[in-house]
Symmetry: C2
Subunit: 196 residues, 2 copies
DNA sequence: ATATTTCCGTAATAAGTATTACGGATTCGG
DNA sequence: CCGAATCCGTAATACTTATTACGGAAATAT
């Protein structure tokens, strides 16, 4: 199979997996429905991903790449505007349909391996990046950059993510994301002004 | 069946349901395992709760009572200490094994009815209560008490709840809960001092 | 005490699902 | 253009589970 065709087929499988995850949940996303929807065969699913958890682990791995891309954008200046820009994109990503679907899958996995993989490809990448950026903005402080990053993320996301995961709210629109990013950054810098 | 016996049997069923939910997740919590573990019969489960979602809806309903009890404690003074006390209990409740299990069940329910019930018995009760308390502490402000309550809850809980639900952290201990409640209250009152 | 309801324990039903298997079509390397 | 590998579509396998059914025991009411 040509590499190009294979990549397209992989994208079809991932799209179908996300769609099923959003519509039916992890338990309801059956391999047969996935194969039919993706226009792939069941055999291919098992040959490529091993088993059902493996398929969703692959989704999580690719999600980690998306997280990296979001963080790498606007990596130039280390000022409040850069933090707002990162927050805006980050919030849209974290509350977007794909991240929410992955979190639901992780919540359904009682063993916790999916959750661990999701955290490694998400929070464990985001936190140091944000901490470095905030540290560069605020300078030396009584509070460590790590704690400031946690604070800023709490202000930014709030309970939007858990409410998205249990299905009580829709994804916030672009305006909401920007305003929350601005407010969170403003609150952080009011509590811990630069050069404190 | 005597009312007393029935109440005890209901508690056994609820305990078993929570235990299975924590160990196996919603899909893995089978009615047969639940009956065996609770010492009840399958027929009783269906006679009392209708079906499997109905059983977990009953769990959510009883959880709402617990939330009310937590909020009603220390309802006397309207000062920062009261807010810290409420926050401490609230965080312990929200990150405790039972609330986490219910959130996992809601996340596994793609239709969203469990999530809706959980929100109605949880957030929709907590938010107005906290907003009233904060409003009484801070007095009139540019920000509405509702927004301040959201801010305080974000500071209090952060991402602990979602991380608990996807299984990457253990429940915070009592010390952590108290410190977070103190820090969240301190941050809130620094950002929006009373009599602003 | 006895008739009636309720419950337990177990089995049966019916449906769904992860995983494996296979024949025929398609694609790829030479 | 041809053989080998890969893939699709479908079916078969083996297993699990929600829900219903039923006989006998326990409790309840009269």
């Amino acid at each position: 199979m040509r590499a190009e065709t294979r990549i397209r087929r992989q994208a079809q499988i991932e799209d179908a997996a996300y769609a099923l995850l959003e519509e039916k949940g992890y338990a309801g996303a059956t391999m047969q429905a996935l194969a039919r929807r993706a226009g792939a065969s069941i055999e291919t699913l098992y040959n490529w991903y091993g088993d059902k958890p493996g398929l969703f682990r692959a989704l999580i791995a690719r999600n980690a790449e998306t997280v990296q891309e979001v963080l790498d954008q606007r990596a130039g200046a280390a000022d409040a505007a850069a933090l707002v820009a990162v927050g805006e994109r980050l919030l849209a990503l974290l509350t977007g349909p794909r991240a929410v679907a992955l979190n639901r899958a992780a919540a359904a996995d009682a063993e916790g391996t999916l959750g661990l993989a999701l955290a490694q490809g998400g929070r464990d990448i985001v936190m140091p990046h944000v901490a470095t950026l905030i540290g560069a903005i605020t300078g030396a402080h009584g509070e460590t950059p790590d704690r400031l990053a946690e604070l800023w993320l709490a202000l930014l996301v709030g309970d939007l993510q858990i409410r998205r995961v249990i299905g009580t709210i829709a994804a916030p629109d672009a305006n909401t994301c920007r305003q929350r990013a601005e407010t969170a950054t403003d609150h952080l810098l009011r509590l811990y002004p630069p050069q404190g």
